[in-house]
Symmetry: C2
Subunit: 280 residues, 2 copies
């Protein structure tokens, strides 16, 4: 037993999605597409019992479920620059990072797919995410062709390099949206996925995402106004699913006069970090 | 059309494998496992007709086949610190890097899986590799559960962080070994994969790889002596498939008194690099 271990998980913005419920949480999930971010979550696991997010005590059901699946109590310290409940997949990242770090710290001997499956199931059962975990395990600009964790879910990716900017207006509850009627979302999401599969480029992803946000009726007036300002610049912007958050390609939010945070697309999926003596 | 583009592809050392021929090159391939390396290949593609490897004109059938599949003539400049024909998957890396960069430079609009499939098929048809490309597309420490490119092949991974050392004695022809009787290899490779799937850790990977190298009867006397020296230290070492190359975990080759090159495990799969004005 190495006593402690750390993992990095990229943030993930979903541009569009469709929901696919299933009694088996490893088969349930979403189709859709998104962008993983070099801004991410670092999870440190060691013996103990508390979950800390940027130093503050917190309760995260998806993390509790991962620890239960691994038959562990653990001290989980999460640090991130990403905003919570704003469409960056932080709950999924915490679940996956906990699984990867705990597997190493407590010698559980599980494979990457097994850890992804545990974290995906935990995020789905907690109601906090349907597709972030599998996307965060892969990295890049993941296209979720089939819902669920390995071996059920299948992924592809948009081959692209670049950076994006994001601007958060306020929080939005993924649980509340997913608990409502998702028929409109799923119809719009299926249409968006078809167009992206036919032309897997960043331009088509952004166009499909904007149309999805409109058709699924998820835009607030702040989001609508900001996206309009950026597209008139002209630039590419849409809404992060699910948060009251605008994301834009390159420097398009700054170019339109907004004070936005910039970060690179993430080339890596999630991974174990080298050991550290940091005791934060 | 952006005129030129660059891609990075990690090196890949296979520890053990079994061969699975198929008339369809996208279904043919290998099962097995390996480690991707932060040392890799950078491929620059622009209009033209020549293939250069570290500045020298070269002929690489797998690259020609990728360009033919994309219906392109192109100038392909490859730079790498990896030795060629020594078990690092350089032919697969050149094929995959060419596919990713050419797709971007010439606006072919293909997805990551499609590019991986083209490069895998090209490497298989050229006889230069059976599993490097799918491993290099994923990164980390890939386990090839089922042979072939997406959607046929399936992968898992060993969740691990670390570094390795390698030492090359001489070149070895992948084509020649694969053209011979591979029954012994496949029997030994299937046994190695079963043990790794049961315990997906670096320790079990190295143990399975050493046993495979012995059972498949691929060791030269230089390889056998060096691996014995490292394991007596004690350290973990085995043979890179297929090269007259020893690889070892951490600093085990240096610890045993050898002058070896060190590099990190690679956290990323293959990816498009930012544009550059470099004209090398």
């Amino acid at each position: 037993m190495t006593e402690s271990a750390r993992a990095f998980v990229p943030g993930h913005i979903t541009g569009f999605f469709s929901t696919h419920p299933d009694d088996d949480p490893t088969k349930a999930g979403s189709r859709g597409a998104g962008i993983t971010l070099a801004d991410g979550v670092t999870v440190h696991v060691e013996p103990g019992e508390e979950i800390l997010l940027n130093g503050d005590h917190t309760e995260v059901e998806a993390v509790d479920r991962v620890l239960a699946a691994l038959r562990l109590d653990a001290h989980v310290r999460v640090t991130t620059e990403l905003p919570v409940a704003a469409g960056f997949g932080v709950s999924g990242a915490m679940a996956l990072g906990t699984a990867i770090a705990a597997n190493d710290a407590f010698d559980r001997g599980l494979s990457e797919n097994e850890l992804t499956t545990i974290a995906h199931g935990a995020d789905v059962q907690a109601g906090t995410g349907l597709g972030d975990v599998v996307a965060q395990a892969r990295g890049g600009l993941p296209i979720r062709l089939e819902p669920g964790a390995p071996p059920h879910g299948t992924l592809d990716g948009i081959p692209a390099d670049g950076q994006l900017e994001y601007l958060v207006f306020s929080e939005m509850s993924t649980e509340a949206v997913l608990a409502g009627n998702t028929d409109t979302i799923t119809t719009a999401g299926d249409r968006a996925l078809s167009s992206l599969v036919a032309d897997p480029t960043v331009e088509t992803f952004m166009e499909a995402s904007r149309r999805f946000a409109r058709e699924a009726d998820l835009l607030t007036s702040d989001l609508r106004d900001t996206i309009r300002d950026v597209t008139q610049e002209p630039g590419e912007a849409s809404m992060a699913m699910l948060g009251e958050t605008v994301f834009a390609i390159g420097t398009a939010l700054s170019d339109a006069g907004y004070d936005a945070r910039r970060c690179d697309f993430c080339h890596t999926g999630s991974y174990l970090l080298p050991p550290t003596t940091d005791t934060q």
